[in-house]
Amino acid sequence: MTSLPQSTETKLGLVIDLDTCVGCHACVVSCKEWNTSNYGTALSDVDAYGAEPQGTFLNRVNSFEAMPESGCSQTVHFPKSCLHCEDAPCVTVCPTGASYKREEDGIVLVNEADCMGCGLCAWSCPYGARELDQIFGVMKKCTLCVDRIYNENIPEEDRVPSCVRTCPAGARHFGDLGDPDSDVSRLVAARGGMDLMPEMGTKPVNKYLPPRLKDAPSDATLEATHKTPEGLFAWLDKALEKL
């Protein structure tokens, strides 16, 4: 078993806006291309050109449709990656200490050198946010692009996770959720940001901004002041004179 830090002052994480996410998968693929060449082993693709291709992704988007009791169908695009929980069961379950949560910023990482691919952590994660790479046999997960966010070889403005930098709709935000004055914390406060499955007691750092209420069209109508073309033309003559 592996221990968690008591608490971390800095809580780096993502804020994902479900009102804005159009489900384009830009974050999914940007994450894949950055991480397959950076932290740890590559993210492999098994049967890549065959009947059932299965690759390792650290971030996936699912779309869910729901019919409310009244009104029309609602669809939510739901990106999901590791939520860097404060009480991360994937860490405490790890028999080798490969899974750990960093004291300095709260990022949950896997030290691949120590990972034996037992899969306990994936089993313990209520969000299904970890994937065991089929070829390399090690557990892969979101690193919050730990090799980008402090990287002095990258322009300062780009020191954010790859998924955040690429998101076309600006639906992904990165920052310190441990600092109540940070931009992300303010956004969460303003928009009623939520924990995913709080009942699991994992205290996720990542937050989701809920979709705004949709499909509440107004009952406004325009007054048909001109019933006939002749009436309209008479009004128009006067209106034009006033211009």
């Binding site: 002095e152 930098r165 076309p168 325009l222 004179e241």
Partner: protein, 942 residues
């Protein structure tokens, strides 16, 4: 307690790459700027270029998957000649010299005798200003790209109505608009800019209304979703216009100043001038001047037109076009109650949307304190805007009533005064550009001669149609004929069918680039395959020769005789030119390049460079020097040294000594300058030129300076479109050029100078009882046409397309998860896996486009899910309508532009036995490039 000792440093700072090379993406048609990170000579990581005008740093799923496209196992390796029967996929690799010899052996004799026997169609070409120049030099009239089966209705309606449509033509004022309506969009078109824009609207809390039978993507996040019945968008828009006019909620000042609302129209019932404008001896249209009440030229300096009244001359009555417009749309037939059932939208909702548009446009106007001067010399202290904006694309355009629907949308924008104003819709240079400023189509051909002018353009009346002395179409696709007079982009989707039928004539060689016409880019895929493989009584192919250029092992490769292998987008030169499909922003003019950030490791060549070689070998004028030697060593040489007009070339930036913009002598170092600048060039418009571009003196002067045109050319918007009326007059029997009898009724009905709604043609012919449902396709945001499936990453996102069935239909048929269905149209039947969806119009089935693949194509395994479960709806759609019983076969196209009416499809559905494969099941083709590796571990080397 175990604790790891091999952790990464607290603040890791690894090297990212050896070098960043900045070029332009080609994973779809958006043309975003990209930073390609190179390591050890390989592509390591691709990200958006933050300085680039199109994407401003962001990048979509396709763009980020560019690595897998660049290294795809489906890449062609060398020129090939076919050695087995067409369709078999059996090829032999040959040298480029042999490939050119074969091509010249077919094309040389054609040029010497009958250049029209070459049909050269270039698909999703981003170099049309170059490929059209080549076709012009060859002398064939048969050239176009893919617009005819894409969105020509949108483009042509926009040009004819206001000098530009959406996407490359213009964009919403994303930073100021308060209410945005988006109609029927293919989510891979203009995708990053729209997503960036939607993000801005969401951040500001601006409202988004999505009008689309299907609630996916953008429509899912829209504040209001209007699940309209396919083909009725025009009716819905006209009902909005009905409401606005009846309430007097229109921008009168705007209409008098910037539109032809005041132009006097001859209101005679019949006669050669009925419906035409009153013109003076100079041909200038006349308006009733408010000051005098008398006719005056519309462009007179102090002339302010009346929108009402009448004028009599020589026994005819003339009335302002606005009166006709108001009468047309105030008609009860466009009342919300009259259209609600057909549109599938309650009248109450239509009224509310009209009221919301009016409220935002007129009660929430935007004022910018920026003085400007208009085309009549009047000075204005401010720029006043109506912050409602619109965007539309294929969904409203790919119908047989699409042109008039697109026109209606522009008329709605104009009545609200929301075009080229703050908060509204803004043109992107070189647009606005009215129809008069575009070329006219040309088809004058003769042996050994170049064509007499550019192929494509905007006809203004029957005199510009491309007809021979007998009245027959001059082009193989019958563009610019009475069947579709304003077919501004040609009709690529009719070429194979017409060439096979030998109507209007037989051709010798079909030469295509980058369009998967043997598969997802054709209607009627199974029949097209039969046409491509059909033989005559001598055992020769009915279409004698097919040359095809593609970078990848597509379905169409297998049906071709000679393959010219193209490079990937990271291995090539290209220019994203102002002479072509531009990438400007409303506030800035821009163009860009591609350059080989990686050299090809195979025997392939950029198609445009191959055309430089082939053009020289054929001795085409403009492609050889005076001594007969090759003029352009390759495409890069053409890009830097070609001048279209003196001082104006393919790239506008860094001309002359490198400091000149727009106009200037060719600069041999131009491409290097672009590379230094991040792969693009951009220049901002002056502040007082930002809005009102068609009527803004500062904009007009700037456009002349930069070389967009040679003299200021202000114009007004065409609410009433006189060129359409001229075609109608011909159909009524007036004029020298007369349509064939059988087309007169259709022309009278479709070519109305004010848009009217008519039911889509297929719907008129088939019975609702037999085919009660509509069927549509959409493209996912993460795939571009057929390209996504060869991409190891993208095909994991969508490898199978289900047929989505609305809840009501699902329950009526008792479908369950995992079921399969037969879908039958008047033309054919397919078998497909189904899934329930409730966020869809209740009468509409739909699926993702181009996911289904033929076995053996794209270097996929024979049991790839795209081939076993994926399917195409195309098999159900014919390029001809079902027989009407009049002995004729009518095109399944818009009668104005010839746009393929993909979305008019009517079908029925029934349960099928569970399980695949999807049907029709076609014979596999042999892969000329083998199959991809079992597993991929890209990135393991770095």
């Amino acid at each position: 307690m175990a604790m790891s000792k091999n952790k990464v440093p607290a603040r890791p700072s690894p090297k990212v790459s050896d070098e960043i090379r900045q070029t332009t993406c080609y994973m779809c048609a958006c043309r975003c700027g990209i930073n390609v990170h190179m390591q050890d000579g390989k592509v390591k990581y691709i990200e958006g270029n933050k300085n680039h005008p199109v994407n401003k740093g962001v990048l979509c799923a396709k763009g980020s998957a560019g690595i897998m496209q660049h290294y795809a196992p489906s890449r062609l390796k060398a020129p090939m000649k076919r050695v087995g029967p067409r369709g078999s996929g059996e090829f032999e690799e040959i040298s480029w010299d042999e490939a050119y010899d074969i091509a010249a052996g077919w094309l040389g004799p054609i040029r010497e005798t009958a250049p029209e026997k070459l049909a050269f169609f270039t698909g999703r070409d981003q170099s049309q200003s170059f490929t059209s120049l080549w076709a012009q030099a060859f002398g064939t009239p048969n050239y176009a790209a893919h617009g005819g089966f894409c969105s020509v209705n949108m483009a042509a309606a926009g040009i004819y109505t206001m000098g530009g449509a959406f996407w490359e033509f213009g964009q919403p004022d994303w930073d100021r608009t308060k209410l945005f309506m988006i109609f029927g969009v293919a989510e891979d078109h203009d995708s990053n800019p729209i997503k960036i824009g939607l993000g801005k609207l969401k951040e500001r809390g601006a409202r988004v209304i999505g009008v689309n039978p299907i609630r996916s993507g953008y429509n899912a996040i829209a504040d209001d979703w209007v699940g309209i019945t396919p083909g009725t968008d025009g009716l819905f828009i006209m009902a909005l216009i009905h409401e606005l006019i009846k309430a007097g909620q229109i921008d009168l000042n705007y209409l008098t100043r910037y539109t032809n609302a005041g132009f006097l129209v001859n209101c005679a019932d019949t006669g050669p001038d009925a419906g035409l404008f009153l013109r003076d001896e100079n041909g200038t249209a006349q308006v009733l001047d408010q000051a005098t009440g008398k006719p005056a030229p519309y462009d007179g300096k102090s002339v302010k037109p009346k929108l009402t009244g009448h004028f009599r001359k020589a026994g005819d009555t003339y009335r302002p076009a606005f009166e006709l417009l108001a009468e047309a749309y105030m008609s009860d037939s466009y009342a919300p109650e009259a259209v609600e059932e057909r549109c599938g939208i309650p009248a109450r909702r239509i009224r509310a949307i009209a009221a919301d548009l009016a409220r935002v446009a007129f009660e929430e106007e935007i004022v910018i304190d920026q003085p400007w001067t208009d085309w009549k010399g009047e000075k204005h202290d401010q720029m006043i805007g109506r912050p409602v904006s619109f965007h539309a694309m294929r969904g409203i355009s790919a119908h047989s009533n699409g042109f008039q629907t697109c026109r209606a949308l522009h008329i709605l924008q104009i009545l609200l005064g929301s075009v080229e104003v703050p908060g509204g819709f803004r043109f992107k240079p070189p647009y606005p550009k009215p129809p008069e400023a575009h070329p006219k189509p040309h088809a004058g051909h003769a042996p050994n001669q170049p064509l007499d002018g550019p192929h494509l353009g905007y006809p203004l009346g029957p005199e510009h149609l491309l007809l021979d002395d007998a009245g027959n179409p001059k082009r193989i696709d019958k563009a610019f004929s009475w069947e579709n007079p304003f077919s501004a982009h040609g009709l690529m989707h009719m070429v194979i069918s017409n060439a096979h039928a030998g109507v209007p004539y037989k051709i010798d060689t079909l030469f295509m680039y980058m369009a998967n016409m043997a598969w997802n880019s054709s209607m009627n895929t199974s029949s097209v395959i039969e046409m491509l493989t059909d033989k005559d009584e001598n055992g020769d192919y009915v279409i004698p020769h097919i040359i095809y250029s593609d970078a990848y092992s597509s379905e169409t490769v297998a049906y071709s005789d000679l393959i010219l292998p193209d490079t990937t987008y990271l291995e090539r030169h290209d220019c994203i030119s102002l002479l072509d499909r531009p990438i400007c922003e409303a506030e800035a003019v821009a163009d860009a390049i591609r350059w080989p950030v990686v050299e090809p490791d195979r025997n392939v060549k950029g198609f445009q460079s191959a055309l430089c070689d082939l053009g020289a070998k054929l001795g085409l004028p403009g492609f050889v020097n005076e001594d007969g030697s090759q003029k352009y060593a390759d495409y890069a040489d053409y890009i830097t040294s070609h001048e279209r007009r003196p001082g104006v070339g393919p790239l506008a930036g860094f001309r002359g000594d490198g400091s000149e913009s727009g106009r200037g002598a060719p600069n041999p170092q131009q491409i290097d300058k672009y590379i230094e600048n991040g792969g693009f060039w951009s220049e901002h418009l002056p502040d007082d030129a930002q809005f009102y571009k068609p009527w803004n003196q500062s904009y007009q002067d700037w456009a002349v300076r930069i070389g967009l045109f040679d003299k200021a050319a202000p114009y007004v918007f065409n609410l009433y479109l006189e060129p359409l009326r001229k075609i109608q007059l011909a159909a009524e029997g007036y004029g020298d050029r007369q349509p064939p009898e059988h087309l007169r009724a259709q022309l009278k009905k479709a070519m109305t100078p004010l848009p009217h709604w008519y039911a889509p043609f297929e719907q008129e012919i088939v019975s609702e009882e037999d085919y009660p449902l509509h069927a549509l396709t959409q493209r996912p945001m993460h795939m571009y046409h057929s390209w996504g499936s060869q991409n190891a990453w993208l095909r994991q996102i969508t490898g199978v397309n289900k047929l989505f069935v609305p809840g009501g239909v699902w329950e009526e048929h008792g479908f369950e998860d995992g079921d399969w269905a037969y879908v039958t149209s008047p033309h054919g039947r397919i078998k497909a896996p189904v899934a329930r969806m409730d966020g869809v119009n209740g009468k509409t089935l739909w699926t993702w486009n181009a996911i289904g693949k033929k076995r053996g194509a794209w270097a996929l395994s024979d049991d790839a899910q795209e081939a076993t479960e994926g399917f195409l709806l195309n098999h159900l759609i014919n390029e001809l309508l079902p027989p009407k019983g009049d002995g004729l076969r009518w095109a399944n196209s818009d009668p104005v532009t010839g746009q393929a009416a993909w979305f008019d499809l009517r079908v029925r559905i029934e349960k099928a036995p569970k399980g695949g494969p999807s049907e029709p099941t076609l014979k596999a083709q042999k892969s000329p490039v083998g199959q991809g590796p079992k597993d991929v571990t890209y990135g393991d080397d770095f």
